[in-house]
Symmetry: C2
Subunit: 372 residues, 2 copies
């Protein structure tokens, strides 16, 4: 019965596929319609099933709901927004930790070590990644998941490989929504990992309570320049790989960091940025890193900064939600979708300028809205 319903839906979509006259070939099938046809094959459950199962801590339901959050299909988005609205009152209680690091700093190993440390203490941990994929290379967080060997089989840990692509604003919104779902599912600690360097730090910073920077010793002069902007954002720094004959160098790097931080003004949080060495491989000082995080969060909860920060993050979430909604309403309008194909082809072949093309689409869109 359910299956039949799903089959019917598919046919409905198939008949909606628009075939338009192309320029470079005889016929073009609207690629977005094809994509929707593919996505539509996923079977949906009733809203209550998602919400009840998530609140019970069901990982399968959580994963399915996150997939809906990440989907571009309007009916998936609609359901996702309802699930989020229902989960919202049950969210907000977790400690949200953002983790970034230079390539080679051993971020995955560190997350595995700190994550296992927390799970052993009885914490429930969700590990998310923010990954605005570049044009040419796709993110490789799946590879990272398999590198977190212990954490990926730990019952109290939930690792979500990032499958989303798109603009940073869109990806940030989806990650914030995923945090809400994970918190409603009972995870009391959320790690948000940045993938790539320099692109997503600001976004992660805008959704966590503590932003941790992982460094290693031996960074060249040039790297210092790269780190500066990220160091400004960090609430704490862990110099990893303080093991074997690397301990002295790690200590020296930590001291250099402390010196550099003295040049910055005291952060808005009122808390000095702390620096510690650690080794994800031997487990050295992993507890100290966690103490640094939890002490800081306790302090900013006390001095009122946490509340102000989360309020600001809520406003940012509202702005991101509106930006996404405005774009979706435009690009998912079926008339615009088809017209875009034609105009794009005209712009590509220089028959129309980019500005005239944009204006034509915008005029059509706004006049459609008036008629609605």
């Amino acid at each position: 019965m359910e299956y039949e319903h799903f089959e019917n839906e598919e046919h409905e979509w198939e008949s909606n596929l628009k075939v338009t006259e192309g320029v470079d070939g005889p016929i073009q099938v609207n690629p977005k319609a094809l994509e929707r046809l593919k996505q539509n094959r996923q079977q949906l459950m009733p809203l209550e099933w998602y919400v009840d199962s998530i609140l019970k801590g069901d990982r399968v339901a959580l994963s399915k709901a996150i997939t809906l959050v990440e989907s571009a299909l309007p009916k998936h988005q609609e359901l996702a927004q309802k699930i989020i609205a229902a989960c919202l009152p049950h969210s907000g209680k977790a400690l949200r930790l953002g983790i970034t690091g230079v390539p080679g700093a051993g971020k995955s190993t560190f997350i595995e070590a700190l994550g296992m440390h927390l799970c052993k203490q009885g914490h429930k941990l969700a590990v998310l990644a923010i990954d605005p994929s570049s044009q040419r290379s796709k993110g490789s967080i799946m590879g990272d998941k398999t590198r977190m060997e212990q954490l990926s089989v730990e019952p109290n840990a939930y690792i979500r490989p990032s499958a989303t692509a798109g603009t940073l604003g869109g990806v940030a919104r989806k990650t914030r929504e995923t945090i809400i779902l994970c918190e409603a599912a009972g995870y009391d600690t959320i790690f948000v990992e940045t993938v790539g360097v320099g692109q997503s730090e600001t976004a992660v910073h805008s959704m966590v309570d503590f932003f941790l920077l992982i460094l290693i010793s031996g960074a060249g002069d040039e790297l210092q320049g790269i780190k500066r902007g990220i160091m400004e954002m960090a609430d704490g720094i862990a110099v990893n790989k303080a093991d074997g004959d690397n301990v002295l160098r790690a200590n020296r790097a930590a001291a250099e960091c402390r010196n550099a931080l003295h040049l910055f003004p005291l952060p808005e949080s009122g808390q000095e940025t702390k620096v510690t060495t650690c080794s994800a491989i031997t487990g050295f000082n992993i507890d100290e890193v966690w103490k640094m995080v939890s002490d800081h969060v306790d302090a900013i909860r006390e001095n009122g900064y946490l509340e102000r920060k989360r309020a600001q993050q809520d406003v940012q979430m509202m702005l991101d939600t509106m930006d996404s909604a405005l774009k979706n309403d435009f690009y998912q309008n079926p008339v615009i979708e088809d017209l875009l194909l034609l105009v794009e082809s005209d712009v590509r072949s220089k028959r129309m300028s980019a500005y005239v093309g944009a204006q034509k689409l915008l005029d059509t869109y706004f006049s459609l809205l008036k008629k609605e």
Copy 2:
């Protein structure tokens, strides 16, 4: 007469300033209205003046027009779009060179050296910067301008410090529009410099004919990871600071780059990514770097890739233009502007969730559009 008109306009704006009841204090003045009031003090000239003067190569008119492109004020944007439309047929003939580099690579000195080399050959050069300013630190391109001592007084060079801030998409659109204006003003070579690391490379890549990466020797292992993504995008690499006792190290770094590049597939352009050493200080091989650029551009003009690339860039420009227009129409709607202040205050004080707030604003906006 002109002056009186301008005075009147100002008063008109002043009377439009909305005063709303705030939560945290008794009275709030809409900050966007204040900002507009300030921006509105700039006196506007007729469209023909801008276009005629730009086509004659007038630098003052060019600068004023770019200021309009960068302005957020609706009437400035309207005039800017008309100027661009009029300049568009006179654009597209320049060679557009994107320049990026790790911090400390001597980008400014390099631009000064290559720029002076080109001006002496009779080229007319415009140097632009793309700078999506981070939340905490503003870009410092003004500092760079003063470091380009010779170029900043060279009559054939036009250096435009980037004053824009905002989302990457918005900044990219404004830079593309500035390129059009510079080309219409007769500049046959455009440099677009990235400010910061990792954020704006993709945007610059999407608007230039050749993307040049400037490196120096002595980069640590970690830096290699950072470079990889950017190296993939580069059409050519210049290892700078090949002077004094650094020549051998620069040669070795160049050799390492060539080895690393062999691991990548041949770029879409069909041209291998070339690597050369140079010294911006001594002038060594600066001509070779330019030969690398112009040979590449000649080759992709020949094999048809340049045309395809620019067509793709035009489509991207159309999409960015539409995204900006959609956001502007929303955020510059006076009803939305005032409602946003109230809703934001409710979200900030937890009286309303971010989603409910976003939905309220979106519903208001779309019902306003229907009534128009």
